[in-house]
Amino acid sequence: MLKRKKISFAFFFYIVSISILILWSIPFIITAFTSLKSMDEIMASQYWWSVPKEVNWENFYEAWTTGHMAIYFKNTFIVTIPSVLGALFLSTLSAFALSFYKFRFSKAVLILFISGMLIPFQMLLVPVFKFSKDIGIYNTHIGLILFHIAFQIGFCTFFLRNFMKTIPVSLFESAKIDGAKDIRIYSKIVLPLSLPAVAALGILEFTWIWNDYLWSLILLQSDNLKTISLGLMNFQGQYVSAWNSIAAASLITAAVPLIVFLIFQRYFIEGLTVGAVKG
């Protein structure tokens, strides 16, 4: 009796979850199919999003070359990697200070970091734009990178502090008595212990900064500096009716975060939950 119930439950589970997944993946499936078709095939059928009759890989080549995807790709890496590393490094410092020291205004600093990460971005647009122009980093990668680092410090500090709080202080009490300097405790004990959290955070930050659209739009102007989100929008604007190439370009844009997610899924999900629920 119990076994039968179990089997019927499993049956129910597979039917329901597979139907949900198919429904959920339709947007992906349509994009993938469209990216593989020739324009003739798309135009020929009312059901232009159906399974492709013959596979056309040229669309990807087309998007990559005429859409200048290679440049946008390179630019996005140039912006994303230093931004992630910079934000991670600086936040380990601030999180260390806020986790293991008792000092005046420590709570105020923490509140500042948390609330800054939640405010509407529009509160920053005009002053950041003006400041970047004033000091001559408007329309440069470094300007965008510095902004990303500064802005992400809020969330990263909050995230890493939540993690560091779980490290028992007893672990380095003896080192302290032995006269170890604070910087040694940071680099030799706390930092190595925090590496899993730093990794999880790094994956999250990577996808966020890779996917950024608004700040690249505000802080970059020259076409040869633009990141991939802007590039995709440009491409779309120029080749409105070339659906197959646009679909291919969309997939190229999404490829890096998708691959990063698939490889580091565990870290990604851990990052999302530590960042939200523990807080």
Partner: protein, 364 residues
């Protein structure tokens, strides 16, 4: 915890660089935006102080009210749909059966996409004539948006409401005559069928028509109909939000001790009691976080609106974030744009306080 009166400056050394950068690019700009909102400034010539003029103009600007109304639509639907659906999906995928892990991975994929990509993908689904959504609905016999809305309305009046009445009636009968197992199931099914049939008999005499003339009668103009466009945008954003809520709930479900659930089964609780009285209270912290984050995300919505419609047609899908961007960077009204940002800030403020209170609660 280190503390020493002599060495009070040590934590500040660690904080110096991150805090300085944060102050330059985040805190100081926030203060500046407040100041800018009282000025008139085109971004190039010098600015002039004009007091509350920007706010006065804002409150007389019809686009501001449209954007505000749309922001509230975003807010309400971003809580009303992703939270319950995310919870349901999380409950489903929490089952440990082979293949479950891959299922979850597929579910999560939409979370990794940028809104620009989502906008592109969904604009094909929303294609008014041959988009996947339009063609599917046509296959179900709806010729245009008008008929779809009438159909949904009929479904609500003549199916959903009778079912709800049936459930209430069964509950009332259950109070006097204990219904158990098969009897209860029979009562539910037969009464639901009965009420649905009765409702359809009623439909012969009373068939209300929804005022739909405002919707276009031509196909499914998801993104070009002023009354529909905001909902279409919200739906595509929700596609990305639901997996996120699901992640939060799955983490919350890990914290529910299986012993507690088993104990409730031994005590004879049915699945609904088990869910409502045992699991749901344990998920309260996850729910609070999911709601506050969804609200804050909904108020920040920009990318998808800008990439899909730029707030059009005729600003009808505009939200404050998008309105602010266009006023500031397309119309060069920096002061006016700042005042929009300030309004956005105050709307978000209450929710930020809730989040902060929740985040700092455990510190005591």
């Amino acid at each position: 915890m280190f503390m020493s009166k002599k060495r009070w400056w040590v934590p500040w050394v660690f904080l110096s660089v991150p805090l300085a950068m944060y102050a330059i690019w985040v805190i100081w700009p926030i203060i500046q935006t407040f100041a800018f909102s009282f000025t008139e400034w085109d971004g190039m010539t010098s600015s002039t102080f004009i007091g509350f003029e920007n706010y006065k103009n804002l409150f007389n600007d019809p686009i501001f009210w449209t954007a505000l109304k749309n922001n509230f639509r975003w807010l309400i639907l971003f809580v009303a749909i992703p939270i319950p659906v995310g919870l349901l999906v999380a409950m489903l995928f929490d089952v440990k059966l082979p293949g479950g892990k891959i299922f979850k991975t597929i579910m999560y994929l939409s979370m990794t996409l940028s809104f620009v990509v989502i906008a592109q993908i969904w604009s094909w689904i929303y294609d008014p004539k041959n988009g996947a959504l339009a063609v599917t609905l046509k296959a179900f016999g709806f010729a245009n948006l008008d008929e779809l809305i009438q159909g949904a309305f009929d479904f609500l009046i003549f199916v959903i409401i009778p079912v709800i009445i049936a459930v209430i009636v069964v509950k009332i009968i259950d109070k006097s005559v204990r219904l158990t197992g098969k009897k209860a199931l029979f009562a539910y099914i037969s009464l639901m069928a009965l009420f649905i049939i009765l409702a359809h008999v009623l439909k012969i005499f009373w068939d209300p028509q929804v005022e739909t003339s405002r919707f276009a009668k031509n196909g499914f103009p998801w993104l070009s109909d002023p009354n529909m466009v905001t909902y279409s945008l919200i739906m595509s954003a929700i596609w990305r939000q639901i997996p996120y809520v699901m992640v939060l709930y799955l983490a919350g479900l890990k914290g529910v001790p299986p012993a507690l659930v088993e104990a409730s089964i031994v005590d004879g609780a049915n699945w609904w009691q088990r869910f409502y009285n045992v699991i749901l209270p344990m998920l309260k912290p996850a729910t609070i976080v999911a709601i506050t984050i969804s609200v804050i995300d909904s108020l920040r919505a920009f990318d998808i609106v800008y990439a899909m419609t730029r707030g059009g047609p005729f600003n009808t899908s505009s939200v404050l974030a998008n309105f602010m961007y266009i006023e500031t960077f397309n119309n060069y009204r920096m002061g006016y744009g700042s005042s929009i940002a300030v309004i956005q800030f105050f709307i978000t403020f209450g929710f930020i306080i809730v989040y902060l209170g929740n985040a700092l609660k455990k510190e005591g």
